[in-house]
């Protein structure tokens, strides 16, 4: 979808579109690597992330333990790799669920208008009127302190902004001539909505989703840091930093490496979104 956009719809100069394409390639390679780590963390990780080795506790980074070890002697490099699934993977799932729900509900609101629109959008207003992180914390705490409830809470908090954005898009798309043309060949509401309208929102939703993977990751690790998400001994990044609080002065590597992992992933996703939305203009 995004590649199509660069090729066909971008009316910028050749140079811009080449550098755009290069950054898309870099981003795609990065995402493929991330997915590989999420699906097969064992390929790269030298140690079992959960195996205790108390003799080697809190070792500084070395050739054997690239990122050092934690208070249980577990290899932090392996834990960071295994934690990708719990942190980035879960963020992606949250964004997928939130953007999917938001797109469908927003499109329905925009297309049908009237009462459906009114009630859906007021519901969205209710969600958006809370500070999202506070709302997510409250939901996660009340649903139970585990990963599943953190994912559910963040999805619930995140879909309304997609619904509002997509609704706005649909309002402009539904006035376009090809919608009228689709009606003239006898297409019904369902067909027009799912085949003619929603595909035209993929572009903005895609840009937004890529950016949101970054923001959701921060929120999710934040929830885990506060003890509302992943629970020990899971190698989730936020939880690792939380555990590292007691050792932050003596063993800097314990908190720094999971933190760097968060920094890297968040900035790459947000940078990518910035490039994509730049090409859209």
């Amino acid at each position: 979808m995004i590649r199509l956009k660069g090729k066909i719809f971008s009316n910028r100069g050749q140079v811009a579109s080449i550098s755009h394409r290069v950054s898309i390639w870099i981003f795609s390679i990065f995402v493929v690597l991330l997915l590989a780590v999420i699906l097969f963390p064992g390929l790269l990780a030298p140690f079992d992330p959960l195996e205790l080795d108390v003799i080697n506790r809190l070792q500084a980074p070395s050739k054997v333990h690239l990122f050092g070890t934690d208070e249980g002697g577990r290899d932090i490099f392996s834990r960071v790799l295994y934690g990708t699934k719990d942190s980035v993977g879960a963020s992606m799932v949250i964004v997928l669920m939130a953007s999917g729900t938001g797109t469908i509900l927003g499109a329905i609101a925009g297309w049908f208008g009237g009462k459906i629109d009114f009630y859906l959008m007021r519901m969205v207003d209710v969600f958006l009127s809370f500070p999202y992180l506070v709302l997510a914390m409250a939901l996660a705490a009340s649903l139970g302190r585990d990963m599943r409830s953190a994912i559910l809470a963040l999805t619930l908090v995140w879909w309304p902004s997609y619904a509002r954005m997509v609704r706005g898009q649909v309002l402009s798309i539904k006035e376009r001539l090809f919608i009228r043309a689709a009606r003239t060949v006898g297409a019904n509401n369902y067909q027009i909505l799912f085949w003619h309208i929603i595909p035209h929102t993929y572009r903005t939703v895609g840009v937004r989703a890529s950016m949101d993977v970054g923001y959701v990751l921060i929120s999710l690790t934040g929830l885990s840091f506060l003890g509302l998400g992943a629970q020990n001994p899971s190698p989730e990044w936020g939880l690792m930093i939380s555990n590292a609080r007691s050792y932050v002065l003596a063993s800097w590597w314990y908190s720094v490496f999971p933190g760097l992992a968060i920094l890297l992933v968040v900035s790459l996703f947000i940078y990518a979104a910035d490039r994509f939305s730049g090409a859209e203009r």
């Binding site: 066909i8 208008g113 376009r176 001539l177 090809f178 009228r180 043309a181 689709a182 009606r183 003239t184 060949v185 006898g186 297409a187 019904n188 067909q191 085949w195 003619h196 595909p199 035209h200």
Partner: protein, 329 residues
């Protein structure tokens, strides 16, 4: 006269934003397998009339009429389901801008076949390929699997026409089908529409601002001005002996290569005419006091219906002014 295929009586359309009355009491009939053209300048309500007949105006406009009968069924009271069936199977519609008419992210064939049941699609697909070849698309079997942005404007419009014919319609509504295309393609497409019409026994409602186009295809012509019909009749009679000053001006404003333009296009602007008088009174070169106070009714003069108080004098007055009517009042 046989029963008309489409009969429209007192059609009124009001655009709700700004409560603009775009069409004010328009009536006409289309006989089976004939072509009726609606001509007029921009804003005269001709496209609105065409869209109102297909009930495509949506919620932004309110449509009223004494009746709109299509094949004996009242379109105004038809349910959504009946409307869909009607649009799919009885009426084909082609719009002005072929590029905007396509969803660029869906293949040509899929897009046109979407509305048919899955079981019907293979058969319709064959039919679509046939029609596409008939409207002059080479390698239709390949084009059907291409995306619309891969085609040229002329090809897109041809494919649109093929799609409009797919359901075996009896009426084709063409809303300025050629004005977004270049002149050579225009001529091709017009010939094509003319041929298809004879071949398929189609009736056609052609909306255009171009009298040259109309004179080639349409049997009857309706001239609209400011949402009303000012003159109506057989095309050749209407063009050769126009009785309404607006029609005369419209004919004279057609550019010709070897003559200077006969109408000064910039002297007059469209203003909302007073509700009592003739809609054209503000711009009419032959305006007399009665034009501002009393609305002329459509009346049958010879072969054409004219709404003008001075219809009998138009021809004479034109000769006096040396073949050029401009506002000199």
């Amino acid at each position: 006269m046989s029963t008309p295929l489409l009969s429209v009586k007192n059609l009124e359309v009001i655009y709700l934003s700004g409560s603009l009355k775009a069409v004010k009491g328009v009536s006409f009939e289309i006989q089976p397998a004939t072509c009726l053209a609606i001509v007029g300048e921009s804003g005269s309500g001709k496209s609105t009339t065409a869209l109102a007949i297909a009930r495509l105006l949506g919620n932004s406009a309110s449509t009223k009429a004494t009746e709109i009968l299509f094949e004996g069924n009242d379109i105004l009271s038809a349910s959504k389901k009946e409307l869909r069936k009607m649009r799919r199977e009885r009426i084909g519609i082609v719009f002005q801008d072929p590029i905007a008419s396509w969803n660029l992210s869906r293949k040509v064939g899929t897009q046109l076949l979407d509305a048919f049941d899955k079981s019907e699609r293979p058969e319709r697909r064959e039919k679509l390929i046939n029609f596409m070849e008939k409207v002059g698309i080479d390698k239709a079997a390949q084009v059907i699997d291409m995306y619309p942005y891969m085609l040229s404007g002329g090809m897109m419009q041809r494919a649109m026409i093929a799609g409009a014919l797919l359901g075996n319609p009896v009426l084709l509504i063409a809303d300025e089908p050629t004005s977004a295309l270049d002149v050579t393609v225009q001529a091709d497409l017009l010939n094509l529409l003319g041929e298809l019409r004879k071949e398929q026994g189609l009736a056609m409602l052609l909306v255009s601002h171009n009298l040259a186009v109309v004179s080639r295809i349409a049997e009857r012509t309706v001239v609209m001005y400011s949402g009303e019909i000012v003159e109506e009749g057989p095309t050749s009679t209407l063009i050769n002996s126009a009785k309404h000053p607006y029609t005369v001006n419209l004919i004279r404003s057609m550019p010709a290569m070897d003559q200077p333009r006969k109408v000064n296009l910039y002297t007059n602007e469209v203003r909302n005419a007073s509700s009592q008088g003739c809609v054209y009174a503000n711009r009419c070169p032959l305006v007399i006091p009665i034009c501002n106070s009393q609305k002329p009714e459509l009346q049958l003069i010879g072969e054409t219906n004219v709404a003008c108080h001075r219809h009998s004098e138009v021809k004479k007055l034109l000769e006096v002014s040396n073949g050029s009517i401009t506002s000199d009042s």
